[in-house]
Amino acid sequence: MTGTLLEITVLVCLGYLLVTNLAYVALVVVAFVENGVRRHEHASQDFDVLGESRFTIPVSVIVAAYDEETAIVASVESLLGLDYPEFEVIAVNDGSGDGTLERLVEAFELEPYQVFVRHVFPTEHVHAIYRSAAHPNLVIVDKENGGKSDALNAGLNVARYRYVCGVDADTVFDREALLMGMRRVVEDPARIIGVTSHLTIAEDPARAMAAPEGRRPIDRRPFMAYQHLDYLRAFFNNRLAWSRMGFMLCAVGAFQIWRRDVLEEVGGYSRTFTCEDIELTFRVHEKFLREGREYEILCLPDNVGTTEGPDTVRKLVSQRERWQRVINETVWHYRNMWLRPKYGNVGMIGTPFYLLTEVLAPVFEVLGIVSFVVAVALGLFDPAVFVVMLCAIAFLNAALTACAILLDDLQSRTYRLRDLVRMLVLAPLDLVLYRPIIVWARLKGTFRFLRGDKAWHKFERNARAPA
């Protein structure tokens, strides 16, 4: 009886593995087409004209900061250095308990000014608004703590322009980030309501971005390199294909451009979910598809910046369990979209894909590992076959990772050749060196989701050498 049950479990897990990986392979094929088209588009774009033209749509960049004293100045400086004809930077200090506001006041010579703004989105109390004599396009909002969504909504109330770009305070941006993000919007602002783009990861983003294109180093530690590979797979293998197929399900919080009127229509960022980005994307899809409106939410392959990655296992688990929780919360909340033709590709492909590869993944991963181990222990399964199976999964992952590296390198030629080689060599070992941490984090996230935990559990920022 136990044997039969184990056999069935192993077969179900094997089936799950094959189905999900076939889906990934199909997405990679679509991603190659999308990447090729975007590459041609990028090459035919005249960024000089776009960067000087008064017809390039102005953007309000909003950065929410909570206890970001180590990263905030570099982040705001990189935003102020953006090469874009007309933009403003709104940094919202969300009741930080550290020296975030003091760092900003000191670095940008800020003074308090009263600005009477529209209260389109209700937020926690705003203590003061600061302006800088040195940077007329910089506004700092100091408010009571209310979470990232609340801070972004406070920024939206202050924003003056038609498009807004929400960014993370721990991210350092390329000078052309906004131009790259807005290049498609400028061509069709009536239809393109949301854009996100590829971001890389580093222990110290400012240092990584200081290196020129083509020479950007990957962090030496394999732990960081694996996170980098994880981002590459997510952006190039998945999001590019989703974008091509009209179901871009997550405009990432570190760089998300939205048309302001769309955010006003859907009520801004929600405070009832653990994170704001994926839920907002689902909400916009749900509203526009329900109302039968034409729209596009895009993911572009251009590397717009580098975000800070956790440098310890504990921090990584904390971050990834939060991501798992918000995915579960969102997919469950929007369950009315599952397999509903009314919701087009989002309902018929996107949400089932998310359900299968993200929500149910920890269950199948743990079930698979446990049943295989028990089957081997009971002598029902040959350990050699188990090892061969692990090798097969490892190389399947490695092949998919190599696809992501190729897509990235074709697009940007960002990294040194030796780093590309290192990433390719590390790829097959992902299964044993990195994946177990992610499985654990996902399991923990699922458990916390079932318990109804919605806390942020922000990871402590990485220690850096003084500038």
Binding site: L11, E41, F395
Partner: protein, 341 residues
């Protein structure tokens, strides 16, 4: 079951290991070739055979795939780099592509060429709507002043979108089309009125000023937004009393434009703003206080006479947070500066 799992695993291995190796080699070799190609000075020349191949590619009627269309665009751009004589003929076919992104690439090529015939084609593309009009406009503006006189006929086009772009693009040409632009401030289409008002905002003269003041009462809020900014720029303090009325506007964007216009006038706007401090509308009162703060009048009063009744009136209009912000600013000013003031 062992056999089944083993068979599946071996099939997966047999496929994925070679794929991983091949992809890795492709990445490394591709990157080495790319670096070698970019290390040396790249030849811009084309052999006649290469050129003929590229001309054929561009001349092809509507490639079936998007990929094929982009290859066509790349070929056109390569031919333009070497100033191939077939480019003027070929560009027509790409410009007419129904995919606006493909047409946009042709528009960029025309902007790079910048000759008289390229300008004519761009103006024609703007009129016909080949490609995104904002892209065409950006290229035409880059080529200023060359296209100037060629834009004037656009102001009389039957299509309001073309009139809009005509009026918008005339901004860098202060000597052209004043009278027609003034006529266009009465156009049936509000977008055209807004564009005409915006362009007139960069000019001067009594007729222009009168036209702009008239549009401050336009039925469309976005025309009033442009009119407020433009009138402030052209008429200066003369327009301040009229613009301050718009601090009490229902539309937030009009109030913001009025504040921007008054702020840009600096201290000249102060008398008009002081009159609004007792306005029945709270938006008008706090808007006036905000502009007085931004032009430095509040800080001046607070330094000069902190107990001044006028300052109290401004504080009353601005509210408690307004007062706190002003006091914090004053407190941060060094004592020597205060004494000097």
């Amino acid at each position: 079951m062992d056999a089944l799992v083993l068979r599946v695993a071996l099939v997966v291995l047999a496929v994925t290991v070679p794929v991983w190796i091949l992809l890795s080699l492709a990445i490394v070799v591709g990157r080495m070739r790319y670096e070698r190609a970019h290390r040396g000075i790249r030849s811009t020349e084309l052999t006649s055979r290469e050129a003929a191949r590229l001309v054929r590619r561009v001349s092809k009627r509507r490639p079936r795939t998007e990929w094929g269309r982009w290859r066509r665009v790349s070929a056109l751009q390569r031919l333009e780099q070497v100033h191939h004589p077939a480019v003027p003929r070929l560009i027509h076919t790409v410009l007419a592509d129904p995919d606006s992104r493909i047409a946009a690439a042709a528009i960029r090529t025309l902007g790079d060429i910048g000759d008289a015939w390229a300008i004519d084609l761009l103006v024609d593309a703007l009129r016909r709507g080949n490609g995104q009009r904002s892209r065409v406009a950006a290229e035409l503006e880059r080529l200023a002043p060359a296209p100037g006189p060629k834009l004037l006929p656009l102001l009389r086009d039957w299509n309001p979108t073309v009139r809009f772009w005509g009026a918008t693009l005339l901004r860098p040409y202060p000597e052209l089309g004043d009278a027609t632009l003034i006529d266009l401030t009465w156009d049936q289409d509000p977008n055209v009125r807004a564009a005409a008002v915006e362009t007139l905002g960069t000019r001067s003269g009594a007729a222009v000023g009168a036209a702009l003041l008239a549009r401050l009462d336009d039925g469309e809020w976005f025309v009033r937004v442009h009119a407020a900014r433009a009138a402030g720029h052209v008429l200066g303090a003369e327009a301040a009393p009229t613009i301050t009325r718009h601090l009490a506007e229902e539309r937030w964007w009009v109030r913001t434009a009025a504040k921007d216009a008054l702020r840009a006038m600096g201290k000249d706007a102060v008398p008009s703003l002081l009159a609004v401090l007792v306005h029945e509308d709270s938006f008008a009162r706090n808007g006036a206080a905000e502009v007085l703060q931004d032009v430095g009048f509040v800080d001046f009063l607070a330094l000069d006479d902190p107990r001044s009744p006028l300052l109290q009136r401004i504080y009353d209009a601005g509210g408690e947070q307004f007062r706190e912000a002003a006091e914090a600013r004053i407190a941060s000013i060094p004592v020597e500066v205060v004494r000097a003031a």
